[in-house]
């Protein structure tokens, strides 16, 4: 085995371990959230969706920030591995966005009575989802590796700059069009069990994100070597 192949395989191995640890941590969070948190009287059991929904939103945001920042680094340093890492984060970001976009409406139906509202976080995540999809679609459509890396980096950076504008747009929109009254799931004084569950969730799903990204990155490195060796994919 060549040294590059060895390095890539080792990354894959590490990613697999981290992912399994992440999944175990996530399972622990499920248990904590289901059994060790109080039930919120006004919202009922469904409020507990929060403990899965919030970390997913966080994960999507982290994934997106990583794509943007690593894209900037790529255009600066031209290291192909940075491009592979950004692309890995984008794919993982789709998984987290999907979780957020499915658990959000399910929860929303119980709180607001409708499946979808254009509230700030859901709207932003929807945009992140579209940006991730566009980013990956562009990569699939470009054959040349250098071109693909450069184009992806440009889209990544532009997406990063777009996010504050989406946020501002939603904010301006909402101040003009008052949304249905939100039953805040996390009142200023969150009981300690809830806070504990939330923080555990954040930690566990961050670990899962890292596991996914490292594994996906290792896979990207392997695919890259195979592509370079001339085998058709």
């Amino acid at each position: 085995m060549t040294p590059e192949l060895l390095a890539a395989s080792r990354i894959v191995r590490r990613g697999q371990v981290l992912t399994i640890l992440g999944l175990l941590a996530a399972t622990a969070v499920y248990v904590i959230a289901l059994c060790y948190t109080p039930m919120e009287a006004r919202q009922g059991l469904a409020q507990k969706i929060f403990y899965v929904h919030a970390p997913a939103a966080w994960g999507a945001l982290v994934a997106f920030a990583v794509v943007g920042i690593v894209s900037i680094l790529y255009l600066w340093l031209h290291d192909e591995r940075l491009d592979l890492f950004a692309a890995s984060s984008a794919e993982v970001g789709i998984a987290f966005s999907l979780v957020m976009l499915t658990t959000g409406p399910i929860w929303g139906k119980t709180v607001w009575g409708t499946w979808w509202t254009w509230d700030a976080r859901l709207t932003l995540t929807l945009f992140l989802f579209f940006l991730f999809v566009g980013y990956l679609a562009l990569r699939a459509a470009v054959q040349d590796r250098g071109e693909r890396a450069r184009f992806s980096a440009v889209v990544g950076i532009m997406g990063l700059v777009l996010v504050p504008f989406i946020h501002l747009s939603v904010y301006l929109f909402r101040t003009l069009h008052p949304q249905p009254v939100l039953l805040k799931p996390s009142a200023p004084s969150m009981p300690p069990e809830m806070l504990r569950a939330l923080l555990s969730g954040m930690a566990a799903f961050t670990l899962l994100y890292i596991g996914f990204v490292v594994l996906r990155y290792g896979l990207a490195r392997l695919d890259n070597l195979r592509e370079g060796a001339g085998d058709a994919l």
Binding site: G44, V52, L98, T103, I106, L219, A229
Partner: protein, 51 residues
Amino acid sequence: MPFETPQNGGFLAAAYIVAAVIYVTYATSLFLRAQRAVRQAGQQGSGAGGQ
């Protein structure tokens, strides 16, 4: 005005299950793809053709 806690455990279950399915499916897909890639890399290393 008496307030009744809504009975929405079903929604909770649905959300938790959907999330778990998405995460586990993605993890499985990554593991399978990685397994295939490592195997093919091993073949490449020993001189066998790819494809």
